[in-house]
Amino acid sequence: MDLNTEVLTQYLPLYQKAAVLTVKIGYFGIVLAIVIGLFCALIQYHKIPVLRRIIAVYIEISRNTPLLIQLFFIYYALPKIGISTNAESCGVAGLAFLGGSYMAEVFRSGLEAIPPIQKESAYSLGLSPLKTMFHVILPQAVSISVPGFVANVIFLLKETSVFSAISLMDLMFTAKDLIGLHYNTIEALFLLVVFYLIILLPVSVLGSLLERRVRHAGFGS
């Protein structure tokens, strides 16, 4: 395989710019997904009537439709009912919509893994339900959720590759664009792989460190 280094250096700045966009959208989308996920998980855990039904429907729709379709819907359908969006906020919204349900399921299983007697012993110490959730249940649930959470983050970052479909100039878009322009397929794809690895490997390593840390923080009571 011959890589044309001249082409590589020529493409590099374009990929850097695209990588920044990918990371930016990934970051905001995932943060929003965490917020949505936590909210949904708490509603489901507390079995709050009506709201839990709505959330169950959301989770099913979000998990059982491809991100690409969700993005098309947000990008092309929403403006028709008067909600205008630009490509970037579409990307963030799409990622949050998809990621929210995945995060919700991970957090919910974490919450449900905590035996009810933990709650009862906190109550019998005179802690309010809110303080019990905050100081006793959530920290344990979050620790249990870490492996699934890390897997979700990596999955969502990879899913950003479909953003090119709504003409966001992310890594995938850049690669396809350059291939179309100059036919330097090998160089373009090589850089694409390298840049995804540059983004994802640190996340993966940080994730494993986090997993080891929370495991160390006291389980197997």
Binding site: P115, I117, Q118, E120, S121, A122, Y123, S124, L125, G126, L127, S128, K131, H135, V136, P139, Q140, S143, A217, G218, F219, G220, S221
Partner: protein, 255 residues
């Protein structure tokens, strides 16, 4: 007339169509130690859970002095701080150190000062012989140690009444003693306690009064000496016999 700390009046508890507690009434004086015994499934644990409002009740009432203890009732959080409970399975918070397990409720629920609470926690830990475990995590402790920490955790909230739900049932025999000693110590300092236990000799030693529960009823209520030597009811007699072993003597001596 003696001052009643706890009044249980006509307490009825059902799980579906199954009535677990039938019209239970009794009172506990300040400083008194009540031991509740009875066969498994007789409702002993449920009784304690109802007193602490961990279970909704279908009839009657639980009064701590003059306040109604009721799930969803007002002041429930304050009332629960006056009723400490220790569970069979310890239920320490696994993500917190021993010291933080103990100081969590006093600091977060009672808004007490960190330094004061920690000093008290350390003093209590020293009393139960676990001062050097303050910075350990629960998983690093033995069952008996965990249970002693759980008792200290309940004590540090300054409850007026302590409930013990079969606190030695999950422990190895040699660890039972260290936990029972802590409880005997508490009784000696005049704590008001309701203890559910299967340790009959311990019950006899610590109780001021024994409640014998069977089928959701208080079948017999008596001072320990009388209950254990001359139980009045047939059911209590039969129950106590299950703890006796007729000896198999006169076996040929093995060489």
């Amino acid at each position: 007339m003696a001052e009643h700390l706890l009044t249980v009046r006509g307490l009825t508890k059902r799980f579906g169509s199954n009535t677990v507690l039938k019209d239970i009434s009794f009172q506990v004086e300040r400083g008194e130690v009540i031991v509740v015994i009875g066969p498994s499934g007789c409702g002993k644990s449920t009784l304690l859970r109802c007193i602490n409002a961990l279970e909704p009740i279908e009839g009657g009432e639980v009064l701590l002095e003059n306040d109604v203890v009721n799930p969803g009732g007002k002041n429930l959080i304050e009332l629960r701080q006056k009723i400490g409970m220790v569970f069979q399975s310890y239920d320490l918070f696994p993500h917190l150190t021993v010291l933080k397990n103990i100081t969590l409720a006093p600091m977060k629920a009672q808004k007490r000062k960190k330094a004061e609470v920690e000093a008290e926690a350390m003093a209590l830990l020293e009393r139960v012989g676990l001062k050097d475990k303050a910075q350990s995590y629960p998983r690093e402790l033995s069952g008996g140690q965990k249970q002693r920490v759980a008792i200290v955790r309940a004590l540090c909230v300054h409850p007026e009444l302590l409930l013990f739900d079969e606190v030695t049932a999950a422990l190895d025999p040699e660890m039972v003693r260290e936990v029972l000693d802590v409880m005997l110590n508490l009784a000696a300092t005049g704590k008001t306690m309701i203890i559910v236990t299967h340790e009959m000799r311990f019950a006899r030693a610590i109780a001021d009064r024994v409640l014998f529960l069977d089928g959701g009823d208080i079948v017999e209520e008596a001072p320990p000496e009388r209950f254990f030597t001359a139980p009045e009811t047939e059911r209590a007699k039969r129950f106590l016999e299950t703890f006796e072993f007729k000896s198999v003597k006169a076996r040929p001596a093995t060489p």
